[in-house]
Symmetry: C2
Subunit: 298 residues, 2 copies
């Protein structure tokens, strides 16, 4: 394993423990929603977003326990979006990473509530005093996450994506796809990196550098995702592939071709790394992430 | 109209204007989610929760514009819960106050996203500096609303309710039903009243008095709701009635009978009013609310 892979695995293990630990214990019939929330969030993911939070926070010497709380809040939001996306009315997926999706394992009503519960819990965790002793930092985190996750961020991106399919605008151009992905997946990546700077009460220049890094890294991630969908095998990627082409969806690959998309991903990943210059050696791990998301096989 | 009815109508009009005004403008295909969010929240409701926020805040001389922002955030949460509750996988309701529900007017996927968007927007509005110039107040509002709306509050109450139905425990006793309602509907009422005290940076005693008032008022409200379902006509109440009995659901009425339930509602409403003693004359409007929720015909 590379140094990055070792660090990713260690963080993922810590994330898995903490995801459960930060959910209040429950008894009574309502405990079912907690079970579904835990099921939907302990999904075997790479935990890339939490890793970006703790790694960005490390640049500013933020205590691990604080960074981990923000990482968990963000992962709750990411996982709620997966639980709701998998619903029959949305992507209608029965499996995620080889396991039944939450509405299959439980039922649709429980999955809707579990998603709602995860989203709400994210803001609860951010607002609690344990996240930072300065209240201004906590409200900034809440505000940034709400903007990233909401109608002008992830939720808006989902709507954009559904509308593009419904209107059969298979002809989205590069600008439109870039904007769609910037909302749908990019916004949470930007929050991941910026939250480290917020926690560290870092100067605006560092904050901007991380946001720029995250924008490019997130875009490279998405182009690589499209490449995996076009070229990967189901076994290797761990989910259905070829879905975009089958649906006639415009993607970075359908517009640029596989070679063009690969070139573009590399180019944007290089640009992402450049934004880290001001952090010097301390930025190495984030630079490795930018290369990793392009070269990954899953 | 009574003084209370006049005040309720004036606040409802202001709420309707502000619900829309606090949603960011959107263009592009994703604007559909904003349309659905506006549709789902401009639903002709009484706006009782917002009224409780502004009336509680008035006790402490909180500027109207701040109280209204909190009122709107709470109403976004209430409305998101209605949009998700109406979904086919949940209560499967096609009509609400005589209008098609959000998933009928748009589609299920859009309704899911609109609910997610409203919930997220609520936290965004609370965290913005315009809500209060003291960041500590804003995080307290976020934390209280998240707890009220989440797995230990409203979402947990919904799960409890679904489980009670699924397990056919039509035999919930009075304590269980009281606990269920305290989570499902009571938690948002408690936030409504307590948020006024948070905004006003009021002493703990005032905060406790408002929480106690809200607990009893909310319970009286719920008993009256069960009575309307048992005795009202569809025309009068504005929604399907007799649903609880048809479903064999345990309610305050099925346990206490209509006379017993009515007596209990009055008794609890009186108790709610007593908690307002320390506010003197200033508590009059809240006292009227406690009487109104018991005597209302819709």
């Amino acid at each position: 394993m590379t140094a990055l892979e070792t660090a990713l695995a260690a963080t993922a293990a810590e994330v898995n423990r903490t995801l459960d630990a930060l959910m209040p214990a429950m008894t009574g019939p309502e405990a079912r929603v907690r079970e579904a929330m835990a099921y939907g969030s302990l999904n075997g993911g790479k935990r890339l977003r939490p890793f970006l939070v703790v790694t960005s926070a490390d640049l500013f010497g933020v205590p691990r326990s604080r960074a981990m709380r923000v990482a968990i809040a963000l992962e709750y939001v990411h996982c709620y979006s997966l639980v709701h996306d998998d619903l029959p009315a949305m992507d209608d997926d029965d499996l995620r990473r080889g396991k039944p999706t939450t509405h299959i394992q439980f039922d649709e009503a429980t999955a809707i509530l579990a998603g709602d519960g995860l989203l709400t819990l994210a803001f609860e965790v951010l607002a609690e005093p344990e996240t930072h002793d300065v209240a201004q930092v906590r409200t900034e985190l809440v505000l940034s996450l709400a903007r990233a996750a909401g109608m002008e961020g992830m939720v808006g991106g989902q709507m954009f994506d559904l509308q593009a399919e419904a209107l059969r605008t298979g002809s989205l151009d590069l600008d439109a796809i870039t904007r769609l992905q910037s909302m749908k997946t990019g916004a949470l990546f930007r929050f991941a990196c910026e939250s480290g700077a917020i926690l560290g009460q870092a100067p605006d220049s560092a904050r901007k550098a991380l946001r720029d890094y995250a924008r490019d890294m997130g875009l490279a991630f998405q182009i690589a995702d499209d490449l995996l969908d076009a070229e990967g095998t189901e076994e290797q990627v761990g989910k259905k592939v070829g879905k975009d082409a089958a649906a006639g969806k415009a993607t970075f690959v359908s517009i640029l071709g596989t070679d063009g998309a690969r070139r573009k991903a590399r180019e944007i990943s290089d640009r992402a790394v450049k934004h880290l210059d001001s952090f010097g050696k301390k930025g190495d791990l984030l630079a490795q992430v930018a290369r990793f998301v392009v070269d990954r096989r899953t």
